[in-house]
């Protein structure tokens, strides 16, 4: 298996950002009530993750080499600005897309998945292409987790659950079973 597809699949299923690393839990808990919104949130995340990965590769190669202690600050500043720029551009270029994605974009800044991606990518010394594969894998992984969660929640909405289990308690227990399911992917990528 090539290095790039290994990174992609590892980030998507084996070490899924949400279900194995707990990154991006805010949208996972917050916007997973409907499959459609979950899909849009996922799309917005993939988009920002890819942009972040490219920017971080650039920053690491040219600027942070000499000042590693400025990493955290520069990453968060870049992510915040990036989301703002993307929001403005989409608003100008495609008002329809903005209406669909718009309200999810700001939520992404404080999504740990984005900063997590930047930090993991740096710690693992990924080059531009490896970083891209990592970002795509992480993004599709997030979307997968969101959509799975949303489809289960749509079903449980009609179910007769005890009143104490309505809300976050139930969501977390569902997440636990999903996470356990994803553990089954471990070993998928070892070539021996």
């Amino acid at each position: 298996m090539s290095e790039l597809s290994w990174i992609f699949l590892s980030a998507m299923v084996v070490n899924n950002f949400t279900l194995a690393l707990f990154l991006g839990l805010c949208p996972f808990m917050g916007v997973s009530a409907r499959v459609e919104t979950a899909l849009r949130m996922g799309a917005a995340n993939i988009f920002v993750l890819v942009l972040t990965s490219l920017t971080v590769s650039f920053l690491n190669a040219f600027i942070l080499e000499r000042a590693p202690y400025l990493r955290i600050i520069s990453f968060i500043v870049v992510i915040a600005s990036l989301v703002q720029i993307v929001e403005t551009v989409i608003k100008k270029v495609s008002p329809t897309l903005f209406r669909e994605l718009g309200i999810y974009l700001p939520l992404i800044t404080t999504n740990c998945a984005i900063l997590g991606l930047a930090i993991f990518q740096t710690n693992r010394d990924y080059n531009v292409f490896e970083g891209l594969a990592f970002a795509l894998g992480a993004g599709f992984g997030l979307t997968l987790a969101l959509v799975l969660m949303a489809s289960i929640r749509e079903e449980t909405e009609l179910a007769d659950v005890p009143s104490i289990a309505r809300g976050m308690g139930l969501v977390l227990i569902i997440a636990a079973s999903l996470s356990m399911g994803f553990m089954g992917f471990a070993g998928l990528l070892s070539s021996t």
Binding site: L19, A20, L21, F22, L23, G24, L25, C26, M29, G30, V31, A33, R34, T37, Y69, L70, R71, I72, I73, I76, V77, A80, V83, Q84, E87, I103, L105, P106, L107, T109, T110, N111, C112, I114, L115, G116, I119, F120, N123, S163, I164, A165, G167, M168, G169, L170, V171, L172, I173, A175, A176, S177, S179, M180, M183
Partner: protein, 236 residues
């Protein structure tokens, strides 16, 4: 909003508005590093430090920070304290730093911290901002240590590394793996809901939890746009 007493400022964060158990904020570190008590405690204290430092500075500088760029300024302040915490932990307790890994840097995006700046520290005098930060940070640490204790005792059969049940105990390995994090918090919340259901003020309590998750979304919304995002029905 009704003004609160100093005692309330401190105690509110520990129980009534506990960031993890009631408001569901800062879940990412609360689940990711709580596979043993030591890591949970270290994460709790690091977050407490960052929260106190940021609240102190934000409260001191509230007059000098223009409203339009306040969120950028808060993030800058928080990121500075996180870098300080990151470097100090690495120098003082390198083994714990290695165990927590990237999650120390991720304190920056803990919605709880930004939330306290926007909702409290930026509008209050220094002393009260600090009390609030101490209370919220302590509440966060207590929740983390609770999760860490349950997971370590069941998952490794030990507490703070000291074996409890002897060699014949078969540890529930799943508890120290990711699913165990979700499961422990889920069961804890179910227990909390059951307990609240038996009390007369239950309606108020469940409303507060609803408000908490709405606040998280709103805080995230303000983060980029500088204005509150209208929250929609499906969120929270």
């Amino acid at each position: 909003m009704r003004e609160t007493t100093q005692q309330e400022d401190f105690l509110r964060g520990i129980w009534r508005e506990n960031p993890v158990l009631i408001q569901m904020l800062g879940l990412c570190p609360a689940l990711a590093v709580t596979n043993n008590v030591e890591n949970s405690l270290a994460m709790g204290l690091a977050t407490l430090f960052v929260l106190c430092g940021s609240s102190l500075l934000v409260s001191l500088c509230q007059r000098f920070i223009p409203g339009e760029i306040r969120i950028s300024a808060y993030i800058l302040i928080i990121a500075t304290f996180v870098t300080v915490a990151d470097l100090s932990l690495q120098a003082l307790v390198p083994d714990i730093h290695k165990a927590l890994g990237a999650f120390i840097a991720l304190i920056v995006v803990n919605c709880m911290i930004l939330g306290r700046q926007e909702a409290f520290a930026s509008k209050r005098p220094v002393g009260r901002a600090l009390l609030d930060a101490l209370g919220t940070g302590a509440g966060f640490s207590i929740a983390l240590v609770m999760l860490g204790a349950v997971r370590e005792v069941l998952g490794s059969g030990s507490f703070l590394g000291v074996s409890l049940f002897g060699p014949s105990y078969e540890p529930w390995i799943v508890m120290i793996l990711p699913p165990g994090g979700f499961l422990t918090l889920g069961v804890l919340l179910l227990g909390l809901a059951w307990w609240q259901e038996r009390r007369p003020d239950r309606i108020e309590a469940s409303q507060r939890r609803q408000a908490g998750s709405q606040e998280a979304i709103a805080v995230a919304g303000i983060a980029t746009s500088g204005r509150p995002t209208p929250t929609r029905g499906e969120a929270g």
